[in-house]
């Protein structure tokens, strides 16, 4: 695994913004780094909507937000001095159960040596009920480093 191949997992949240900014500040002069801004677009659960139309509208809105975020995140890295040629963005439709597993799958498939995730700072109770992507990534990551930005 190449530690300079860096996967930043983002989801349009403030946590993701902090993670992107952190990587930009750290790697602004590291021209050999390869940075993937990686966003899994998990399809909203159909059961949460009364009909197909509202469900599909919600999915489109989510995708639009993610695309906009990826563009902003790229801009944020470039503003901090990261070479535009080192940055790739990827929005991937996702139908699996666990976003963390999806991130780890992309890390393995792409040979990324570093994963970066943002973290909000959940309580134990919240993590028990809602789950934590960052915690799961940390627990299940193999053969790579994980940076957790809080």
């Amino acid at each position: 695994m190449n530690p300079k191949r860096i996967l930043i997992a983002v989801d349009a949240s403030a946590n993701s913004e902090r993670a992107v900014a952190y990587v930009g500040d750290i790697l602004c002069h590291a021209r050999e780094a390869e940075i993937l801004l990686f966003c899994l677009s998990k399809t909203p659960d159909r059961d949460l909507f009364p009909d197909d139309a509202t469900w599909q509208a919600s999915a489109r809105k989510q995708d639009a937000e993610y695309k906009e975020f990826l563009a902003r995140a790229r801009g944020s890295l470039e503003q901090r001095g990261v070479d535009a040629g080192c940055i790739e963005t990827r929005l991937v439709p996702f139908t699996g159960f666990s976003v963390a597993q999806g991130i780890l799958g992309a890390q393995r498939d792409g040979g990324y040596g570093t994963i970066v995730v943002g973290r909000r700072g959940m309580s134990k109770e919240e993590e028990f009920l809602f789950g934590s992507v960052s915690s799961r990534v940390v627990h299940h990551a193999r053969n790579c480093a994980v940076w957790v930005v809080e």
């Binding site: 909203p44 059961d47 949460l48 963390a100 919240e126 028990f128 009920l129 809602f130 789950g131």
Partner: protein, 330 residues
């Protein structure tokens, strides 16, 4: 001209003794307008509405106007008919609130999935004249498991040694039923003590009510696991134990090691989960399983399979693996 309710009842159930002859509904959209004495014509059958269902929680009667207790005029069978009610509300659990959705299509899908599975309530779905998804449910003839356990007039040690092994076997069977749902990409969504019944005659544990859906994206099965943990603690403890109830029942004198916050539930912080401190004969292995749902836990179960892997040896350790859960009335 279509038959009216009076004609239908005089023809098919003259001895009904109902007090009101209402209207025949083919469209169930306005479920608040459908009540006692009305008939819903669905899928070629006529469902005479006896009354709205209700739920008793925390001593309060909570009417469910979209759930009708019915008599099928053609067959004489009793059925529960659930009409479409898209509801979104904030579920409150401990100090957390999160959106909860009532999903008819989810329940209909699960009814199809468990059509032949005796661990769940049975029924089917159909569409009314407006395409509303209506679920027709059979009654589970039996009693709520928690009420059955509470009604056992024995002390905890007698309960634990003589009755609990069979109850644990039934509970494991019920967990396997939930695992079956998860393996098929479904969640129960509302695992509570009052949604697990012991069927009269067979003693089988059967789940009811699957129409809740949540958006717990990184922990899709966590909500079901939370419910299973609460039920397990209830069954092991033969009830819920709080500092107040422990004092009121005079159990405090049995506690050799002082209780601390880690001993209580991770979400409901006043419920004791370290039950071994109260009942020292509870085996360590079983107590450890329950402690996964306590504040002191460092590792949580992520799947029902993990819970079952830890729980099955507990049953073996208790020395009783009945062929079937013993479900006789207490």
């Amino acid at each position: 001209m279509a038959e009216d309710v009076r004609q239908l009842i005089e023809r098919m159930w003259p001895e009904s003794g109902i007090s009101r002859y209402g209207r025949v509904f083919h469209d169930t959209s306005e479920f608040m307008d459908i009540g006692h004495g009305d008939v819903m014509a669905l899928g070629g059958l006529h469902y005479l509405v006896i009354r709205d269902e209700s739920e008793r929680r925390f001593g309060m009667e909570d009417p469910k106007y979209w759930v009708k207790r019915c008599h099928v005029l053609e067959t004489g069978e009793k059925r529960i008919v659930k009409l479409v009610f898209y509801e979104t509300f904030n579920a409150t659990v401990g100090r957390f609130q999160f959106p909860c959705y009532r999903s008819p299509i989810k329940e209909a899908r699960i009814l199809d999935l468990v059509r032949e599975d005796p661990r769940f309530m049975h029924g089917f779905s159909l569409e009314d004249s407006q395409g509303n998804n209506v679920r027709v449910l059979e009654y589970v003839q039996g009693r709520r498991l928690d009420l059955q356990v509470e009604a056992m007039e024995v002390d905890h040690e007698t309960y634990f040694r003589e009755r609990f092994p069979a109850i644990l076997a039934g509970y494991i069977d019920a967990c396997e039923a939930i695992l079956f749902l998860h393996e098929h990409g479904e969640k129960h969504g509302d695992i509570r003590r009052d949604h697990l019944y012991v069927e009269r005659g067979t003693g089988r544990y059967r789940w009811i009510d699957f129409d809740y859906a949540f958006d717990l994206r990184e922990n899709p099965f966590g909500w079901d696991l939370f419910g299973l943990g609460n039920i397990l603690a209830f069954l092991v403890g033969k009830g819920e134990h709080t500092p107040l109830s422990i004092a009121e029942q005079g159990l405090a004198e049995h506690i050799r090691v002082p209780l601390d916050q880690d001993d209580f539930g991770i979400i409901f912080g006043n419920r004791l989960f370290n039950l071994k401190k109260l009942f020292p004969y509870i085996p360590e292995r079983l107590n450890r399983v329950v402690l996964h749902f306590a504040q002191g836990a460092n590792v949580f179960y992520e799947t029902v399979d993990e819970l079952l892997t830890d729980l099955r040896p507990c049953l073996a350790e208790l020395g009783a693996i009945p062929e079937q859960a013993q479900g006789g009335e207490a």
